[in-house]
Amino acid sequence: MIGRVLANGLGVIALLAVLAGLYLAFFYAPPDALMGDVQRIMYIHVPTAWVAFFAFFVVFVASLLYLGKRWPEADRLASASAEIGVLFTALTLIAGSIWGKPTWGTWWTWDARLTTTALLLVIYVGYLMLRSFVDESERRARLAALVGIVGFIDVPLIYVSVLWFRTLHQPPSLGTGGSKMHEAMLFTLLFNVGAYTLVYLFLLVKRVRLESLRAISEMLAVEKVRHD
């Protein structure tokens, strides 16, 4: 009961943060000197990309934990985070494509950053398909953990793709070397990154609960078969 109240409280805070982030993106941050207002897409494109990478990092850590300790909770966390990560990766590609049309003149190009991000989506859609194809829970968790760990290799590749290759995509907006962005733009971007991270955490809590309920449901079904 307390857990549900806390989760719903997190949902309310996430919703308020997203609304505040929208206000900052449209009314506080100045338009870009070169791209104009269309650059405001960055305040949703970069946060969704960040959340996608974070979600797959959670899958990576939870998968390592599962293989090391065989905790079913770690497998449920990985499964929940992977599904949310897939959604955020798809949204990153869609918003990026919409931003690409007015700035690059094309919806899509086989540029290193875009291709490695599309590959990330394919890897984790494969991860979810694998989970749905294998019936035996122990085997499913073990195989999924392997894909979750190996698939994460693509995330650092996406980050360095704009540094290692000649691409249309701009260099990282946020990085270890600081940012050359206008203060108001940087604040708005970081605020939105925080807001969408809260949305991710809220969805993760609910999604993990769903996985737990499914595990209970499977257990009850087995008990019922034994009893009958």
């Binding site: 269309v38 897409i41 869609i94 309920l213």
Partner: protein, 50 residues
């Protein structure tokens, strides 16, 4: 398409998809809770039960 149309498209698709996913998870949760309530063995001797 004007710049405003691109901005609105990006924001409405992203926020709409997140809201739809939230609703989907919520409905799957309700369904799972309902299924467990149906499968769980009946409690005996509880208050208010006949």
């Amino acid at each position: 398409m004007t710049n405003l149309a691109f901005i609105l498209a990006a924001y409405s698709i992203t926020l709409g998809a997140l809201a739809a996913y939230g609703m989907l998870v919520w409905s799957r949760l309700r369904l799972a809770e309902h299924q467990i309530a149906m499968m769980a063995p009946p409690q005996e001797g509880g208050y208010g039960q006949r």
